[in-house]
């Protein structure tokens, strides 16, 4: 008799626990595994969310309690209370204290979210890959000043990425891709985000917060994908209304090993060179005709 009951209880507990873990996603950002800043945002979100829920449930309970407990009954006399200065000062100070705690927690977490760390040992060799022209925003790069700086350019309705190469004297020959960005793992990637027509917003949820791409401005963010994530693709989409096809302005980030990254850049370079040569041949043909 007892053992089936035990099994039943175990099954019930398991069925309660399973959705509880599944529900973690219900209450918090879906996927934050791609970069440390996304993880830190997720952690900060959880702390704030739990404090908020505590206050919310507290207020709801107090409201329901006063509605039910003090509902009009025969012979009940309402207490003619006009206020209570101590109590009112108390809850004002209490609310302020909660916010002070929130501010402190935010400042503690901020470093992990805002400031880019150094690249890891398994990342790409940054001295090899070169840098784009122009000096970086000092805030956007790690203390050493070295990161893989990629330019992200939003336009209706596609993202355009320009990769750094070692021949900066010919910026038109820089390697570029559309929609899918290929990056090496364990390397700090700094994005310099621009827009060429209307305002867009760069956002890959698993790789940290979104940043608007505003014409005439350069925004920035960073991410660093852990080495074990090589081979994964992280997806997102434009988050600022940019016109009729806003819903289909997608973005993907493919994480690869440093070797694969170098091979990818070399291949794109060859492809671009080939098409440049082809174009030159065509020009010649047209001129000679």
């Amino acid at each position: 008799m007892r053992s089936p009951a035990r099994i039943l209880i175990a099954a019930l507990t398991a069925s309660l626990l399973f959705p509880a873990t599944a529900f973690a996603d219900f209450f918090s950002p879906d996927d934050s595994s791609g970069s440390k800043n996304a993880e830190a945002i997720d952690t900060l979100y959880w702390i704030v969310f739990l404090m908020a829920m505590l206050i919310l449930v507290g207020v709801w309970v107090a409201l329901l309690y006063s509605m039910i407990k003090f509902r009009a009954r025969r012979g009940a006399v309402p207490a003619q209370i006009r206020g209570n200065t101590r109590l009112e000062i108390g809850w004002t100070v209490g609310a302020a204290l909660v916010l002070v705690v929130l501010a402190i927690v935010t400042f503690v977490m901020l470093d992990d979210i805002r400031n880019a760390p150094e690249s890891g040992a398994n990342g790409v060799d940054l001295q090899q890959v070169g840098q784009p022209t122009g000096t970086p925003n000092t805030e956007s790069v790690p203390p050493s000043g070295r990161s893989l700086r990629i330019q992200v350019n939003g336009r209706q309705y596609v993202w355009h990425y320009t990769y750094p190469t070692d021949d900066d004297d010919q910026p038109f020959n820089n390697v570029f891709t559309y929609e899918e960005l290929v990056v090496p793992v364990d390397t700090t990637v700094t994005l310099e985000i621009k827009a060429q027509d209307v305002v867009h917003s760069w956002w890959i949820p698993a790789l940290g917060g979104k940043m608007d791409a505003v014409p005439g401005h350069t925004n920035w963010t960073w991410f660093k994908i852990p080495a074990e994530k090589a081979g994964q693709v992280f997806s997102g989409q434009c988050a600022e209304l940019c016109g009729r096809n806003h819903a289909n302005m997608l973005a993907h980030v493919r994480a690869v090993t440093p070797e694969e990254y170098e091979a990818f850049i070399d291949q794109r370079k060859r492809e671009i060179e080939e098409s440049n040569e082809e174009a030159a041949e065509q020009r010649e043909r047209i001129e000679n005709e």
Partner: protein, 563 residues
Amino acid sequence: MATSVPLPQVLAREVEPEPRGWRAWVLTTDHKRIGIMYLVTTFVFFLMGGVEALLIRLQLGTPENTLLSPQTYNALFTMHGTTMVFLFVVPIMAGFGNYFLPLMIGARDMAFPKLNALSYWLLLSGGIVFYASLFFSPPEAGWTGYPPLSGENFSETGGVDAWIFLIHLTGLSSLLGSINFYATIANMRAPGMGWGRLPLFVWTLLVYSVLLILALPVVAAAVTMLLADRHWGTAFFDQNAGGDPILYQHLFWFFGHPEVYIMILPGFGIISEVLPVFSRKPIFGYKAVAAATAVIAFLSLIVWAHHMFTVPQPSIVLVFFMLASFLIAIPTGVKVFNWIATLWRGTVEYRTPLLFGCAFIAVFVAGGVTGVVLAIFPVDWALHDTYFVVAHFHYTLVGGAIFSIFAGIYYWFPKMTGRMLSEPLGKLSCAIMFVGFNLTFAIQHSIGLDGMPRRIYEYQDVGNLGLYNLISTIGAFVFGVGILITVINIVRSLRVGAVAGPDPWKGNTLEWFTTSPPPVNNFDAIPRIRSVEPMKDIRRQVERGTPPVHQPAEPAPEHSVVA
């Protein structure tokens, strides 16, 4: 006990009869008729905005839906947002204000009755100009109208211009109305009604007016610059010619955030009137509630850039606007605590206005706490422009505005029409609206956390997005049914509602001192005000058998009603 209801002291002497028929409405300068025109017009716009919302939800009910074209979808959410903000919530508060502000302070009309009529007609023209764009090309740039998308290169047709003129016309309407409210409150209060005895709804209207006067010129400037950029070759927001699109965002939100409080503060005022009446207790901490209103208004002017945490800004700016936004939670929290303390140890009567008031508190607090979550800028980077934000501001605005507006409708309908609304229908409407609202918007937090941005006409069924959106769509229709029940209730009660009498709720404030509906001149005799709850004093005097003390019945010239 029934004898404690005082007889209204109204004779309507020396007042010219108003014209009858349609001219009575079109030519009127009577604040009550103007108030009713405001309320009816804005409620019609509310229903139009509601239909737009239902179409939006219908499109999003299933993934990759092809019901609406992207063009129609963008036009719909632009019109929905614009309608709800500029043609419903802001002006309906002015409607309540028009009708009840003079009654509550014991005045015979607004300070400038003709200006008051002009305010209404400007509002209506704004609405017509905007909706006329349906016949050529409605705007598609969102209710915020960010350039360059709203500029000439990306919105070539006249929709955005219609939107700009809506802002101008309704803005002018609100500006004139605010001057009128301010002048009326400052100069025409009943004898003895000092600032410490002003009804809390009137306090919130005062702050509403000041905020509108401070904020509206800024958005008027912003959209005028946009208009000039579009048509006259200027480059205020054109980065290629030395302008800056972010300038527009700053100007818009410098208005846009106070606008949020412009929309909900009068709602706070309605709640502060309704809760004491139905718990038969004075408001807990009158001074704190009034002061919190002013503090919220001040803080609302220095938090605008929390709408812009994702545009390029130095960290110090982000930190400032995060901390300033935190601060606003304190006076708002104080108000909520005071409201609950007002119910505490009272005798709470479950009438429809009170139920809407309690629904307001429950919903609004949820919007308040998610507001603090979003004020933390790194968290905002994850949630900005997603459905989490959509859920957040619908909790504050539907909670803060719609539930309190419905509380106001049920509370004041007897005064405006002389008839009671049906209580069973009202309670049913409240319950269905509460369930429908939460069904629609609670799940949208999760939709946003799953990474779905706002303002997209289609989405792929990743994870549970299809299911969650379906739940939200069903909720929207349930919410719609709840609203429809109140519409039916209003139409029905106009003919068959129980006769209300002057003071059906045993109210606290002066509007209950006159007949329902009040005569053209409101009061012949205005009692001397001795507390925040003048009607309680008057009832007590009647019980004792001493008639209330009146001011001389002769109205001052500026108070007289000119037909």
